[in-house]
């Protein structure tokens, strides 16, 4: 009985024991992480996509194709060639006309930092056998006739090859006869793999004898006229 009383008293005392409580610290509540990471990924290569008419060949560092992968910040060399009977009108790279930047049919790209789109515009040219000489018309005419004669006596047909320089303001059409050597399968690399001086040299080479023939003809005519007057 006494034990029960002591136990009951102890149970009564138990609720009066002090309990420790932790107050929530709300003085400063901030985000647990105060850092933010900014990241960027720069690609290691870019693409060059070519849009060109059939027959036009685009090469990048000597490799032809219509879709290229270019290492970032590299400087590959671009070349465009057109088949016979066509000439370049315009070459556009990412909206910018780069036709005039081709030297000897090649253009070294600046460091590539983005994807590129190349568009080549061509047009058909009429085959012509006349050679134009911008200096004197009389020389041009005689050259043309000489050329025609040469072609008519040739055993194999001569092909007319036309090309244009990147600078459209100085573009010209030249004709060359290969004297029995056919070049029907050849493609001229833009803007002009053949030296334009070739046509000029031929014109001069044929024009000089024609000039002397003309002078001789005039002298004969003058002598004949003098005789007639006498």
């Amino acid at each position: 009985m006494r034990r029960l009383a002591v136990l009951g008293l102890c149970l009564c005392l138990f609720p009066y024991c002090a309990l420790t409580a932790f107050a929530e610290d709300t003085t400063t509540s901030t985000t647990p992480q105060n850092d933010a990471v900014i990241s960027v990924s720069v690609p290691s290569a870019h693409t060059l996509t070519v849009t060109a008419p059939d027959g036009v060949t685009v090469t990048l560092d000597g490799v032809s194709g219509n879709h290229f992968s270019i290492d970032r910040l590299s400087e590959p060399t671009l070349a465009v060639s057109v088949p016979d009977g066509q000439e370049i009108v315009k070459i556009v790279l990412n909206g910018e006309d780069i036709t005039n930047r081709f030297v000897n049919g090649q253009y070294k790209l600046p460091p590539v930092y983005e994807n590129l789109a190349l568009e080549v515009e061509t047009r058909s040219v009429e085959p012509t056998t006349s050679t134009t000489e911008p200096t004197t018309s009389s020389t041009t005419d005689s050259t043309t006739s000489s050329t025609t004669t040469s072609e008519s006596s040739s055993t194999t047909s001569s092909d007319t090859t036309s090309s244009s320089k990147p600078d459209s303001s100085t573009s010209s059409t030249t004709t060359s006869s290969n004297g029995g050597t056919s070049n029907s399968n050849s493609q001229k690399t833009y803007p002009n793999n053949d030296s334009p001086n070739t046509g000029d040299a031929m014109a001069v080479g044929i024009g000089v004898p024609a000039f002397f023939l003309g002078v001789a003809f005039l002298m004969v005519m003058l002598k004949k006229r003098n005789k007639d007057e006498e």
């Binding site: 006494r2 400063t28 509540s29 901030t30 900014i38 990241s39 960027v40 720069v42």
Partner: protein, 156 residues
Amino acid sequence: MKNRIALGVSMMMLLSMSAMPVSAADDNRNAVITTEVAPAYIVTIPTNMRVPFNQLKTDFGAVTLTKAQLEPNKCVKVTMQCDNLLDNKADAEKTIPYTIYEGKADATGNVFTTASYLSAGEKTDLTIGITQDDWNKAYAGEYEDTVTFQIEYTDQ
């Protein structure tokens, strides 16, 4: 004998803890109740951000004072710290400069460095800016930088 002593001690402890009625006196007495509300605030900062390649302006999120129980003449000041250079992970010599502006990407303002806030809801939109010239010069690879937001509870 021991039991009696223990019983007696227990009874005395019980008596000492029991409520004792106190008769109220006739005179008035003032009771001053004091409490202290500690200042509390929550600041949210931008999360990690991956900037798309060749993008000139990228929304970076915002610094926002989400909750604020501030004392008078006090404010929450947020200061941003970074070196404004994204470092190439493979070659630290290669970097991409960047700038963090106030405002959203379509309407950026001044360069952000610090801002003070007084009430909940105040915020500053941030934008990461990388110039086209810097993009063009960047070498290939992965770049990153850490931006630290220092938060202070300070006088206005």
